[in-house]
Symmetry: none
Subunit: 141 residues, 4 copies
């Protein structure tokens, strides 16, 4: 039998550090965030709702992480082409709901392999994206 393919994935330690790095950035920005991390398989690996974060952003942060991993790109890039007249118009109806505005970012190794994604929701989308990016940066430092 031929050798099966292998792929990398985040582990417990990486997940914890990504969560911590992101929540540290959130506190720096004085933002109350929901932070979700999915593994290489696209399923939830870790989640934290900071005190006072919007209840409605729990689901959004998880959907952002899933969306970013499902297509291996930042959620905002999908949103650019899901507008009326865009090539992926209404893609949000698939996969039990996608979120296509900024705040979801793929987790990549230095080699560029996607090993998961992080989704952040709780403030304006620029801050959501900044916090998610800070979390994703952990694997690159």
């Amino acid at each position: 039998m031929a050798e099966l393919k292998t792929h990398k994935d985040i582990d417990d330690e990486a997940a914890r550090h990504i969560l911590r790095t992101a929540s540290t950035k959130a506190r720096e920005l004085e933002a109350k965030m929901n932070i979700a991390v999915v593994g290489a398989d696209g399923h939830l690996k870790a989640f934290f709702r900071m005190d006072g974060a919007w209840m409605g952003s729990i689901d959004i942060s998880i959907k952002k992480a899933r969306t970013a991993r499902y297509f291996n790109m930042p959620t905002g890039e999908i949103g650019n082409v899901s507008q009326p007249g865009g090539s992926l118009y209404q893609i949000e109806h698939s996969n039990d709901g996608l979120i296509t505005f900024p705040g979801g970012v793929p987790l990549k190794t230095k080699d560029g392999e996607v090993v998961g994604a992080i989704g952040v929701s709780g403030d304006v989308v620029e801050k959501d994206h900044e916090v998610a990016s800070a979390g994703a940066q952990y694997l690159l430092d």
Copy 2:
């Protein structure tokens, strides 16, 4: 162990008064409304469908109340930024369905603490919002 945080919530009496205040305003406006109240936990606390109110507005009123509590703001404010090209475009796909046009209003104490929300649906959105606001006003008088 450190002390846990505490927060307020509406009780039976408040819920009944909010419902009554809102339905009185609805009759004033000659509008047939569905009126939903959720508690601080975002779950349904009280609901009333006035005689002749649209059947399709039952769910909308409940979703408006949930949406207003989930993000601690009037639903119409979310709708302003969920338009095509807006920063929260298609947010309605999250949380098993949000409603982002006017008619949902957070319930706040005089101190500004959010203790629930009210959602109203059954007429033009201006009237929906007016009735919801009348209900929310009860806690401030």
Copy 3:
């Protein structure tokens, strides 16, 4: 054109009295109940979650009311035949979820016309049924 059929339905006043009669009985029994009333059309007419009532019973009380109206019989009677080997085994999978244990009771006029249903959840099923029956009795007194 032939005359269309007419049917009776509960109105605002009846709904309010049914809710009040049921909650008075709940307090008598020292039970914290969720109480739902659906109209002749099977859609939610009124709902109240008493202070301290189980969060999980909100949905159950609504499903009990819906179930009782959908089949015009007390929910417990359906549960008798939805057991393993029973004639309606697994009927709970239909209609986006039914509840087939006691606590849902049709609302009938003195003439026997079904004009809605009441569903109660929050305590042992015997008390749930007793409170629902008290509410339904209002139309018969």
Copy 4:
């Protein structure tokens, strides 16, 4: 206006400690667990999937936590009465899916106030329950 009721809730620090206490117990038992914590509002507060834990247990752990909070009792107690012929047969069809076997435990303060719940899934239900109980114990020590 009368004073509103107040209640307690877990905060960031408590959630982190509960998660840590539970995962320490899981490692002691050599079990790979999904651990979910919901707040007093029944919504997700924190989640962690340990390396190698079953993918299918992500949702189960979250549903166990929700179920325990929705009814303020360990999930296994509900399962005792939701068996065929039991008083709550098929209750699992409510609330978008409940899990009624052991592994979900309410989080209580020393005064007995329910401030959330923990749900654990990934091994035999006895171990799931043991890990959840260890997490809940944190608030009592």
